[in-house]
């Protein structure tokens, strides 16, 4: 079958006469959409952080007026003292914002959009307009969620997991409108993710450049591909569940209301059937991007590329059959608990393979400690802690004690902050030049890294000890319990560290803004990387390539003996390279 017609389109690059609105607002360019996601989700990251600070104030200094808390209305914090009903809104909205509006869009919305076409060598996504709708429905979802903080009765109050029937019945939760807005917003998030995922999947399957075979894809693209499959299949379940929850709330159906025959555990099954793949949606892209950055920073090919790919696939596959481990104590069938325990423990194996392969990559490397590399190494170090602490709760008898305690809080933050967020602190400066044409400030980046690394551990490591004492999650005032009173100094310590951690992030945000205009111009390839995106000007132009590039090798050929330099771009043709079979058609 010939395809000359398909590939011979005039390349649109370099003469860009779109209006401002088409270019920056309702843009269909995957890079602009990625940048839109970046700005919006960084804002939500900040919102989520602010909510966490208020929680930490209450936990560290229960009942004391919060500095600056006077600006909050009477219904939240009269005189700056946080009310219990506001506290559980904080718990709920912190989780919701961080999971659905910060980490997930930062990893998938930003980097799937930005990187996939650039790294596989195509002009844009397969469906640019659907891509635009994906962003705008995410944006609408975010606005609805943000607005729900300010409605009468306040935001949703049942934790980000929205366990029914607390979430389903307003008379039990005390919230009303906010609870419904949560459901609506989550339906929109689901829509956004589905639209995004179908785009990523189609693009990666169908639009790879000549020579870009499956096993020449960078691990970042592999992980985003698998993530997209997880998102495609998991988010509709969440949307379906949120629709049923909304119907329970507004039209009086009884899905989750045991008083009328519904089942409370059904919500948990639906939620976690989505929720566990979601956990991998939140970590797989981070793993992929860290793989790219570690190989680059070590100037060495990634250790065991194929097993890295298979590990991603294995994690994604196992991710579908482990959701019950969130429900060991829920009264679920205990035999089902046993099988979920085994599948959960098995998932440690591919995670271990990935960790050892990252270490193998660094072994005998020539490590350059740029800001991205520092954060990527920190990712490995912190993800290990989060991964290992997961084994405790996978073992059901131990989970009986630590379930729903601060041990879980420590675990999930070691994965989501220590994992995903450190990966983002690596990825953002790494691909910043390709987005904006400038480098982020290296010195401040390092200051930010070290302070974050220290304060982060000071915040979350002690939480393991709180959890081992039996400190429950989501409690407004731990001093209510006599057995927790001796731990109050530790809560204070965690809170103060958390404030410092939050303050440290200001360095990052200032650096980000400052570098937009004042950063050092980066040139084409500031990190001497092999990926296709680094052959483009920075920032990459609309339509990316004049002509689709041809790929001759995998993305990790660092320190190859074939060339004197320590990197060998995927597009560079050495005399020994054969022209890929598919390239002859594309070249004309």
């Amino acid at each position: 079958m010939t395809t000359v017609a398909a590939t011979a389109h005039p390349a649109p690059a370099h003469h860009d006469d779109r209006s401002f609105i088409r270019k920056y607002v309702f843009s269909t360019d995957h890079k602009i959409i990625g940048i839109q996601f970046l700005f919006v989700s960084l804002f939500f990251l900040l919102v989520g952080g602010l909510l966490a600070m208020q929680m930490r104030w209450q936990l560290g200094f229960p009942g004391k007026p919060m500095p600056g808390g006077g600006v909050l209305p009477e219904t939240m914090a009269p005189g700056g003292v946080i009310l219990p009903e506001y506290y559980i809104q904080l718990v709920t909205m912190h989780g919701t914002f961080m999971v659905f509006f910060a980490i997930m869009p930062l990893l998938v919305g930003v980097y799937a959009n930005f990187l996939i076409p650039l790294k596989i060598g195509t002009h844009d996504m397969a469906f640019p307009r659907i891509n635009m709708w994906s962003f705008w429905s995410f944006f609408a979802a975010g606005l609805v969620m943000l607005a729900s903080l300010f409605v009468p009765d306040g935001a949703a109050r049942a934790g980000w997991t929205m366990y029914a029937p607390l979430s389903a019945r307003h008379d039990l939760s005390g919230a009303s409108f906010g609870q419904e807005m949560w459901s609506v917003s989550i339906i929109l998030v689901g829509l956004s993710s589905i639209l995004g995922s179908l785009n990523y999947i189609t693009t990666i399957i169908n639009n790879r450049a000549p020579g870009m075979t499956w096993f020449r894809l960078p691990l970042s693209v592999w992980s985003l591909f698998i993530t997209a499959i997880l998102g495609l299949l998991a988010l509709p379940v969440l949307s379906g569940a949120a629709i049923m929850l909304l119907f329970d709330q507004i039209i009086g159906t009884h899905f989750f209301d045991p008083a009328a025959g519904g089942q409370a555990l059904l919500w948990q099954h639906l939620f976690w059937f989505f929720g566990h793949p979601e956990v991998y949606i939140l970590i797989l892209p981070a793993m992929g991007m860290v793989s790219d950055i570690i190989a680059n920073g070590s100037r060495k090919p990634i250790f065991g590329y194929h097993s890295m790919v298979f590990a991603i696939v294995a994690i994604a596959f196992l991710g579908w059959i482990v959701w019950g481990h969130h429900m060991f104590m829920s009264g679920m069938n205990p035999t089902l608990g046993s099988s979920f325990m085994v599948s959960t423990l098995v998932i440690a194996v591919p995670s271990a393979v990935k960790t050892f392969n990252w270490m193998g990559t660094m072994w005998r490397g020539n490590l350059r400690f740029t800001v991205p590399m520092l954060n990527a190494v920190a990712f490995v170090a912190m993800f290990v802690i989060g991964g290992l602490s997961g084994i405790f709760m996978a073992a059901t008898p131990v989970d009986m004690f630590i379930h729903d305690t601060y041990f879980i809080v420590a675990h999930l933050h070691y994965v989501l902050f220590g994992g995903s967020l450190f990966a983002l602190f690596a990825a953002i400066p790494y691909w910043y030049p390709k987005m904006f044409g400038r480098l982020m400030h290296e010195g401040w980046g390092k200051v930010h890294f070290w302070l974050t690394f220290i304060f982060y551990n000071l915040v979350f490591f002690p939480m393991h000890i709180l959890g081992m004492a039996g400190h429950m999650r989501r409690i407004y005032d731990p001093t209510q319990y006599a057995f927790l009173q001796p731990y109050q100094p530790m809560n204070e310590f965690i809170s103060i560290s958390a404030f410092l951690l939050f303050a440290t992030q200001i360095i990052f945000f200032v650096n980000f803004w400052w570098s937009l205009k004042r950063g050092k111009p980066s040139g084409l390839n500031p990190w001497q990387d092999n990926g296709l995106e680094w052959t483009l000007p920075s920032p990459a132009p609309h339509g990316n390539w004049e002509r689709v590039p041809t790929v001759y090798r995998g993305p990790y050929e660092f320190s190859s003996p074939q060339v004197p330099e320590d990197y060998l771009p995927q597009t560079r043709r050495l005399p020994s390279d054969r022209e890929p079979a598919a390239a002859s058609a594309a070249r004309h």
Binding site: I229, L233, V237, Q263, L265, L266, H269, F273, W320, I321, G324, M332, N333, P334, T335, L336
Partner: protein, 91 residues
């Protein structure tokens, strides 16, 4: 994408579907058999009809395997979910 395959007789499939639907109705309301057998037979007929639509109208019978996989992947996941949810009530 020329049609390399022989085109199925769509009208015949239509007749099939109509007859199967009539059979379902008869089975559900006319035949005096035990509810469990009825349930199994009805599910069987429904899956048969769904398979006819999928294979012939959606041309899955004539696609390559790598596209068929796309249609098949979600099915085991759905089955796992439903079985796990049902197992709550049989212990």
């Amino acid at each position: 994408m020329e049609t390399a395959h022989k085109r199925p007789n769509y009208i015949l499939i239509w007749v099939y579907l109509a007859v199967l639907t009539a059979a379902e109705l008869a089975l559900a309301f006319k035949l005096p058999i035990s509810p469990n057998i009825k349930l199994l037979l009805l599910l069987f007929l429904a899956i048969w009809k769904a398979a006819l639509v999928g294979l012939f109208f959606m041309h899955l019978k004539f696609e390559r395997w790598n596209l068929r996989i796309m249609a098949i992947i979600p099915l085991p996941l759905a089955v796992i979910f439903i079985l796990a949810g049902m197992s709550e009530h049989i212990w």
